[in-house]
């Protein structure tokens, strides 16, 4: 049915059941915005999509592969085509920007060092980070770190991208830059899920939204559908009346 399918996803932490049966799907080339209050478990769903967490029960299928049935070693193939953009960038702080970007290429391709260098310098230019290749992540601003994280995630030309709050804590300029990158990837046919609290970004880049509330997806659909059918959940969420 979709590029990403999540069916009856349940997950507890200790005695607290956070997900009580989450189900949704994302079609190829679509961008789904997953919204909900802090602690609702949005990031846990995102992490589970590439096997960083395991659900207690339920099924996750990406491009026909049931991720939940795979062992850690078997997840490598899934992780090559599904990129994860971490909230804080999760850059390797002992490596330079260049080495961070070279990491997936050196691990998963047979490219020569010259070819790797060419690709990385091109990628850095695309993300407005040219000239920063020899810097360590600690020398970069928060916005630049996020963009480097995004650039690293894109190095393997993934079919699916999972964004975990990519604009959190960013100024309007960097937020706009990130939005442009997400839209650019969408134009190239990349399927994505965006976890965010930043509603303007969600409205700007997502084709549809899913609202995670009380451990379930309470409403999902396009903006128009949600405005009509979601009992005003979007408005309540924006106004701080639902979390």
């Amino acid at each position: 049915m979709g590029m990403i399918e999540v069916e009856d996803f349940k997950k507890s932490f200790g005695s607290k059941q956070v997900h009580k049966g989450v189900s949704f799907y994302v079609k190829t080339g679509e961008c789904l915005g997953l919204i909900g209050g802090s602690g609702a478990g949005k990031s846990v769903i995102l992490r589970s999509l590439i096997g960083l967490e395991r659900p207690d029960s339920g099924k996750i299928v990406i491009d026909g592969t049931e991720v939940t049935a795979l062992k850690e070693r078997e997840l490598v193939e899934v992780r090559k085509k599904v990129a994860y953009v971490f909230q804080g960038g999760a850059l390797f702080d002992s490596m330079t920007v260049f080495e961070n970007l070279a990491y997936p290429l050196r691990e998963h391709t047979q490219l020569s060092e010259t070819e790797i260098r060419r690709k990385i310098l091109h990628q850095l230019e695309e993300f407005g980070l040219g000239g920063n290749e020899n810097l360590l992540p600690a020398s970069l601003s928060g916005g630049m770190q996020k963009r480097v994280g995004l650039a690293r995630a894109m190095m393997m030309s993934p079919e699916v991208v999972l964004y975990d709050e990519p604009t959190a804590g960013l100024d309007p300029y960097n937020t706009k830059k990130i939005q442009e990158h997400i839209l650019d990837l969408k134009r190239r046919g990349v399927t994505s899920i965006l976890v965010t609290h930043d509603m303007p970004t969600a409205f700007a880049v997502c084709d549809k939204l899913a609202i995670l509330l009380n451990g379930r997806i309470e409403a999902q659909g396009t903006m128009e559908q949600l405005e009509k059918d979601s009992k005003g959940l979007i408005a309540k969420f924006i106004n701080g009346e639902a979390a």
């Binding site: 960083l52 070693r73 490598v76 971490f86 999760a90």
Partner: protein
Amino acid sequence: MSVFAAPLGAFLFESLNILGGMGILSGRILKDLFIGRFYLRLVVEQIYVIGMKSLPLILITATSIGMVMSLQFGLGLEKFGGKMYVPKLVTATILREMGPVFTSLMLAARVGAGIASEIGSMVVTQQIDAIRALGTSPIKKIVIPRVLACLVTLPLLVGVTNFVATVGGLLIGATELNIDANFYYLKVLSTAGISDYVSGIGKSLFFAIFISIPACYYGLNVKNGTKEVGSATTKAVVVASILILVGDFFLSKLFWVVERWV
């Protein structure tokens, strides 16, 4: 009785939990060591970090051990006219016990703490998650290089300690105790047998495991932010030190039995 039973039960449960966790980690290391890519460059890097950078600390400790032991044995045995036994005693003690144990304790403090805090920080900043998300294994990229580097460097550092401590002992023997340096040197050569070296170096291989596995285990199990990095580091050093000191007795027994048998 029940006042003690509950904490004791909790302690035993926690100990079993930790031992189980370390056992699982060791199993994964053994499995991943022989499957897929091997990162030799990372092992060499860690050998440099663990070995070369520990050298100044080891040199100072070794010199001190040799000098103190020589002095204490000399002053103690002098009362009974046994000063001439100092080279024999110092050499045997250094090679079999003090060399491996002190080097390992120093490495547990410096390297064990370093590994636990580094990995713990990587967990907190999601770098370990990033390694996995990028289709690679933290066991292969982070844990195995550190464990192997400890296995390679600790015996070498013990060798350095043995040599430097013996020289330290000889210096004190010659200067403070008035033992002829040539006599001391010849006694060292005649005392040190292959079994002494095998026992000391053999034990250091076990100690390398006792240092690196708890350090990696506690680092990887940091869950609640940076505050836990500090406690993980402390636990890694404490557990490694206990394992070294308690393990030393059993390993000493083991090597004595093996020597007799061989």
